[in-house]
Point group: D2
């Protein structure tokens, strides 16, 4: 039984891991920390938790929020995890951070990412970089098992990297030809209100945003380049549609040689044969994001447009699960030596 | 470990109990029966179940669909359960029927209900009436424990009866003054397509229907009359709004004497003190149907309009859970001697 | 051709009247005033207006915002219209105010309303009270034609008053038996962001609010009492559902004598025979709020529950049209001597 | 004043043109024809039209449905227009067909299209091919003015062709590099019910479909090739998201030489300088499909990803307006010598 602390417990990412941990047989929620709603029981802030968890939310400067834990989740924006991780590690905790703080293993790579989002490029805990692992279990399972600190991947990044890694590793696609056309549900932006996510302004609305560049591109290019063994550059488009949960990423790449859908299917199924949360489907499969909602699965639909010699992968995840809290718990399981799927194997509800 | 058969497995009510049983520690899904999609694995019809349940759907006349089970759910329309229940009982099974077939304990009461929905008023298994229990655990827990056959209540009826039973039992409300203003999500109509539930015709749409009379009124009046010890008549309005899951029933009754919200709260909390799935909340509680989605809870918000001397209860359920499959599993737990909450205590996901 | 000024032009109520005036053959938009987005062309703030209206938004203290107009709309919260109306009237303008400021004709009635919403009960322009008209054309057409200042009714109030006025006037319903169960779309709360109307918190959500009392009750009781010729008290419930536009109000009252649906239909049709925006329909009509979206119509569905001796009216409006900007334009037409329907007769779009 | 007949009046495409014609100053609706709901007034089938149009729906074999008209809209599926057009033309009518029947000018081109959608490749009125025009006014204004018969373009095709035509004409993009990633609202599939568009199966759902090839590709490639003066091939992905109205097409092409956003903007604005329904916007514009809903506008957002040397155009239309009935009316205006924008210049409503 591991004691768990969640920093940033009242955001969507925090509440997501709280929900999962309440049903995890080897974890015990011990401490919830957040800046808002301090002092209230979490089951009052989020009435669906009433009776399941009545821990109070502690302020970051409350002494009780410093009590040791075996696992600490930083479900916090960029910059918070790098401040708090050293102390947590010193107390013997394993750390899983949701932000970009620990997705890069060198100060230089972090700086490039930070500049892209207009943040301070100087990492405040550079001594930890290199000891961290990138928390996409399907690609870095062994490293995560060893790591004391894991940078949970970005939600868009999960959908794109899983969808393209096998093709890049096999050298199937030209490395500068990749396009990631990504559509996300609104919960991806978190619980902070904004005119853009006000219900009347968002229902019946589809739009692209950050056309000048999205911060997740760094991760996608780094990971795909690692798989390809050479530089990969992607054109990335972020779009929002009026669903709450779900990412649908449609991924394109020019084939280096004529390839059939059957060949691609075989390649992908082999690549993910040890990965219980990835389903590889053919182009006739009638699936959508509703079929992975509330689950940690990534459904990949493979197709080849032979007229234009192009590979197309449609990648489906729940942005708050495989795109966030689900991956975080999967990482915790690996770091703690639990079965990878513990507390995560559930089918979701339909409709 | 009980072996379970689900008849009507491919409707929303069927899939709902399948999802729950897959996570129930004492149940094993053995047989799925339906008229559509025969021969396909359920995990192919409903892709979110792929890997969790790959039982094939059997036709009703397939010999394998007749194999004995410990528990049989009839997740079927009116008229199917009464045909199949005698054989199931003869095989030693406990039977839970979703339709109106076993919600009434006399042929006369059934006939009145059947006439209201334009069905044949002659019950085909009248010998079973009187041996059945009405499957609302909060009111009939003891009877359900003893029963071999349970009629699962209607979704609207659950929300109304739970919301008004304490007041009626206490004689707090005039018996002819009750109004049930009910709003349901679209899933309540099942998976059968219709112009009314076509997405473009339903989004941004609110409407009342069946203004001439809804079949659930029979149950509501019968149960409230039982609590009151005298005849109760209700005005009932069914309305649909563009959500998928959820019923919000706003229930009104004229107080027989001035009463405070605090008194009503105390009365309700006492009434439900043994009922783990009912939460009684005061008029300041910020809750809605999203807070019970995917769960078996009924959240009741109590208020008194002293200017007009009226009690008002706002009742929130997930129509597919407490309104259907959740209550069905709760009944199975009672009938089989399992803890009432087994496999049902989960907080849902938010948002 | 009348010159029009809109104060509060950038809220949903402001933009609604701007859209209508752009298509009105006798009106010319002259001045737009608001506190936010000052200096920007309205067609930049609201891109759907680009090319249709490129007037800049002026600050309230900008001298150009004081230029005279023939008609001034105060699409502003409580308290703003009463401050600005005297100057506008002094300049010869006709004034239409959206808030509660001019819905009452005595300082005492206003004070009661103001207390209910926690505002200062002292009206700052009491000399205007008594000269104002309540802007529900169907009941006060003659007075509106004469008035220089009109208080546009509340959106819930429009739906309730139109739905019950004929019955109250005919003495058909017991005056203390009335219940108004009202469901509104989210746009009724305006464009101001809040956690309650954040998309992820609102989709799939139904809830009641302000159970302790909604400010629109004052108007409803006053108007129904006027029709009845005696005091009427209502129980009023405000609820929000995830649509953008639309109010569905289900209205109940106990009949003083047995009455048929046909009698009620005849009574209602007679009452509204001169009212082009009210449609009276029988209980079999398949209509909903989507059928009045974007229009100034109020669709009333009449039914009688003879088992409980109760009248039930289902009232449908677009809260931003008949519930706000549409009524405001209808009032302008009457005040300016234009045909009542000018610029307002359009069917909307479907779906 | 032209007399207008609408064949297929009760589908979404039919009702769309009915709504527009009711507000068109030079058109008079004379005849409505459909296979369903025969004999009912259109204002009863679609209650929002009650009082605006009460023409009855005539069966195709009703003699009154054969009465001459000045303009005939075939708002019908593939195969109907080619059967009826010769007779309509013989009566002197101008014909606008919504289907693929008259989008191609040779029997061979039609056959290729027909094969792609699994229809009979033999056109039944081949003598008309070559006399028809492709009804995208922005590219074929002069031809449409002269034509007696116009094939209204596909909804996806409108969004893609307008978005890419200027770049292709300027030779800015490699002709085999084009990718069209298209997301449509549900109304694009029409009013016919299907399990895919059942509300509970569609809310919270995003999915790709027809991955093996969508019929609109033919039009897109033909038109872009015409602009480019050489063969263009596109990878096309159709996707559905839970909005009712709207298409968001994200269009990608590899630049043949480094080009700035400013250059592209200038090129596009010049290309569309005579086209009142196309707005060209830079990459900072905060627009989405909600801003063109209910209107005939196409909003194009231009951006250049210089890191990957790629042009990206985000194209926004209302699929039932610019994608269907709006373009049809625009074509009628051109064919009849009316101003192109007559009856079409309206801003829509927001939100």
């Amino acid at each position: 039984m591991v004691r768990v602390k969640v920093i940033g417990a009242t955001g969507y990412g925090g509440i997501g891991i709280v929900e999962l941990l309440l049903q995890h047989p080897e974890a015990r929620l011990a401490t919830l920390v957040a800046r808002e709603d301090v002092g209230q029981p979490i089951g009052q802030i989020y009435p669906h938790l009433a009776g399941f968890c009545d821990l109070p939310v502690l302020a970051p400067d409350d002494p009780r929020s410093q009590e040791p834990a075996d696992v600490v989740f930083f479900a916090t924006p960029d910059g918070v995890g790098m401040q708090g991780a050293p102390a947590a590690l010193a107390q013997g905790a394993r750390v899983i951070d949701y932000s970009g703080d620990f997705r890069f293993t060198t100060p230089e790579a972090f700086a490039e990412y930070a500049r892209r989002i207009g943040k301070n490029p100087a990492h405040t805990a550079p001594q930890l970089l290199g000891r961290n692992a990138y928390g996409l279990a399907e690609l870095h399972r062994a490293a995560i098992r060893q790591a004391k600190i894991v940078g949970n991947p970005g939600c868009f990044a999960v959908s794109c990297i899983l969808g393209l890694a096998p093709a890049m590793k096999a050298g199937l696609v030209e490395p500068f030809s990749v396009i990631c056309d990504c559509k996300t549900g609104v919960s991806g932006a978190g619980k902070k209100v904004s005119p853009t996510f006000h219900y009347p302004a968002r229902y019946e609305q589809m739009n692209a945003y950050k056309l000048a560049g999205h911060q997740h591109v760094c991760e996608v290019e780094r990971e795909l380049s690692l798989q390809a063994g050479r530089e990969v550059r992607v054109t990335f488009t972020a779009q929002v549609v009026p669903v709450c949960r779900g990412i649908l990423s449609t991924l394109y790449g020019t084939l280096v040689r004529p390839t059939t859908e059957a060949e691609v299917l075989a390649l992908y199924r082999d690549f993910f044969r040890e990965s219980p949360f990835v389903r590889v489907l053919d182009s006739q499969a009638a699936v959508g994001t509703l079929h992975v909602r509330g689950t940690n699965f990534c459904n990949l639909v493979v197709s080849v447009d032979s007229r234009t010699n192009r590979l197309r992968i449609v990648s489906h995840i729940d942005n708050l699960m495989k795109g966030q809290a689900g991956s975080a718990l999967q990482n915790m399981n690996l770091m703690c030596g639990f079965p990878e799927t513990l507390g995560l194997l559930r089918p979701g509800i339909y409709p």
